[in-house]
Structure formats: structure tokens, C-alpha cells
């Protein structure tokens, strides 16, 4: 039992425990941070496995991802601070059973299978191999991944745009009914529409109060959104 093993067990236990706690805490931000911690410990395990680049990349990536996720948490969840106890689950028992079953099946497969053993040599230049591989034999994959990421960026921008081809994307948007197919929950805004009276956003080139607000920067009267009643969460106003 070397130090590596001890560290590994500690880290793996921590990863599992934080992963579990993600779904048990009331506060959304805490859930986000717990997931971050889980990823971080996985990254550290990667470092222990001599996958130094992978571990570091994991930690970097996951940090930023969790920040983004935290933002979305605050935007879309009703209880970000966790001041009230909350547990919004459905098909709970089925999920528990499925999770346990999957774990058991995979563990069984792992234990029953004769796994090959070919540890990486300690003096192997891992990073150098990775670099040569990425830009050598697997250049196509790399490039494809890059293009895919570009497409993702474009897609994300388009999907979350406030203005679609057929008009504002939140036109006729009503909250879902409390029962399936029922009347919309919550107070209905007077005078239709979802946004009513944004007023003075300026700098949009004649789109009126509603319309794609995306990235408009410098708008003065945003504070007035708080008075808009009905529909909070507009998302993505940045500054």
C-alpha cells in the first residue's frame, strides 16, 4: 500500500461521496460545487495515473463548466440558495433500482473478466506522445472535434436566441398547467404577451419592446424589468 494507493482511495471515495451528495443537497449552488469537487478528484486521480494532461484538462474544464452550470442553476431553479428543503424527484424507486443494478452488473463484469495488465512505463514521455498523436495520426479526429465544437457554439447561440425566424421565441408562451393539459398556472399577465413594457432598451433598430435582446450591451433601463410582473427569468442579459 503505497502513498499512491492511499491517495487513490481517498480521492475515489471523495469523488463518489460528493457525487452522491449532488442530488441530496437543497441548495443548487452547493450541488454545483459538489459536482465540481467530484470532477476535481477524478482529475487528481488522473494525475496519479500519469495522465497529467488529462487530469489538468479535466480540472480546468470542469471548473468553467461548473461555473456555467451554476449560472443556469440560479436562472432556472426555484431554490438556488436552498433556504427551503426540496426534493424534486420522480420515478425515484425505479431510478434507485436502475442505478444499483447498473453498478452491480458492471462490477460483476469487471470482477469476472480477466483484465489485461499493461501499465504505462514510468519514463514514457506521455505528453510528447499525446502531442505527436493529436497532430499526427489523429489529426482528422482532432480537426473534426474542433469543427464539432464550432458547430456547437453556433448551435447554442442560435438555439438560445431571443428572436426566431417566425417572430420572438417567447410569443404565446404560457406556463404549463398544474395538471396535464390544464389551464396555465400562475397569474396571467394583463395585456397579453410575456414581456409587456420593456420600454427603452434602445439600440435595437426598431424592434420595439420585445425582440431579441441578445448581446445588446449598454441598455439603461433594465432595472425596469423587475416591474414587469408575470414572467421573471429572462436569461442572459449579462451586464
Amino acid at each position: 500500500m503505497t502513498m499512491t494507493d492511499v491517495a487513490f482511495y481517498l480521492l475515489s471515495g471523495f469523488a463518489i461521496w460528493t457525487g452522491w451528495r449532488v442530488f441530496r443537497v437543497d441548495s443548487m449552488i452547493r450541488a454545483t460545487f459538489l459536482l465540481l469537487l467530484s470532477f476535481t478528484s477524478v482529475g487528481l486521480i488522473g494525475l496519479l495515473l500519469s495522465a497529467s494532461y488529462l487530469g489538468a484538462a479535466t480540472i480546468f474544464m470542469m471548473a468553467v463548466e461548473m461555473m456555467v452550470m451554476g449560472l443556469f442553476m440560479v436562472m432556472f431553479m426555484m431554490n438556488p440558495a436552498g433556504l427551503n428543503p426540496m426534493m424534486m424527484v420522480h420515478q425515484h424507486r425505479l431510478s434507485i433500482v436502475a442505478g444499483l443494478l447498473i453498478f452491480a452488473a458492471m462490477t460483476g463484469a469487471v470482477l469476472l473478466t480477466p483484465l489485461p495488465s499493461d501499465p504505462v512505463a514510468a519514463d514514457r514521455p506521455v505528453l510528447r506522445d499525446l502531442g505527436i498523436e493529436l497532430l499526427g495520426d489523429s489529426m482528422l479526429i482532432f480537426e473534426t472535434a474542433g469543427v464539432t465544437l464550432l458547430a456547437t457554439m453556433l448551435g447554442a447561440v442560435v438555439l438560445s436566441s431571443r428572436r426566431g425566424r417566425f417572430g420572438p421565441t417567447d410569443a404565446g408562451s404560457v406556463p404549463p398547467g398544474l395538471s396535464a393539459g390544464g389551464p396555465p398556472a400562475g397569474r396571467q399577465p394583463k395585456g397579453g404577451g410575456s414581456h409587456g413594457g420593456h420600454g427603452g432598451h434602445g439600440g435595437h433598430g426598431g424592434q420595439g419592446g420585445k425582440g431579441a435582446h441578445d448581446g445588446h450591451g449598454g441598455g439603461g433601463s433594465h432595472g425596469g424589468h423587475g416591474k414587469n410582473g408575470g414572467d421573471g427569468n429572462h436569461g442572459g442579459h449579462g451586464g
Partner: protein, 101 residues
């Protein structure tokens, strides 16, 4: 730090992630479950590369691809959540029931 131990740990992460993906009502929490699953698979990949593959570079490449997948999935996922919210004001999965029967 045998390969079996790593794989069992990754199986545990995957199980927890599956639990989360299936049981959470909110879209965002669901995404977090998916993230955990991918986390587990990333760990398994790293373990295989380190202990069974002898450091072949293709193993690391696979791990990088997984990370890329993670990113893509998060981005598009959240974009979709925003769009859905704009359209239906839906933030839980039960709200999207117009496809029923």
C-alpha cells in the same frame, strides 16, 4: 490502484449519475446526472489507458474526445433548456407533455 478498483469506482459514479438522470425533475439536475455518468466513463478510460494499454496515445485521445463530448452536450443542452423555457416556461420534465399518446 488496480484496474478493477478504478473500474469499480467509475461504475459507482456511473450508477449515481444514472440515478440522478432518471430521478431528477429539473432539467438542470438531469444534466448534472449526465455529467456524472460521463465523469465515470472518463475515469474508466484513463484507468484503461494507464494500466492496460501501456500508455498508447490513442487512449488519451479517447479521453480528450470524451471531454469534448461533455462540453458539447452541456452547451447544446443548456441552449435547449433556454429555448424550451422561452417557449413553454417549462423547467421540469413533466411540463413537456404534449407528446403524450
Amino acid at each position: 490502484m488496480t484496474l478493477s478498483a478504478i473500474l469499480i469506482v467509475s461504475a459507482a459514479l456511473f450508477g449515481i449519475g444514472l440515478y440522478g438522470a432518471l430521478s431528477q425533475k429539473s432539467f438542470v439536475m438531469l444534466m448534472m446526472g449526465l455529467e456524472l455518468m460521463l465523469n465515470g466513463s472518463l475515469l474508466a478510460t484513463m484507468g484503461f489507458w494507464s494500466l492496460a494499454l501501456g500508455g498508447a496515445p490513442k487512449g488519451q485521445l479517447l479521453a480528450i474526445i470524451i471531454m469534448a463530448v461533455m462540453a458539447i452536450e452541456l452547451a447544446i443542452g443548456f441552449a435547449l433548456i433556454v429555448a424550451v423555457y422561452r417557449k413553454r416556461q417549462a423547467d421540469v420534465t413533466e411540463a413537456l407533455e404534449t407528446l403524450a399518446r
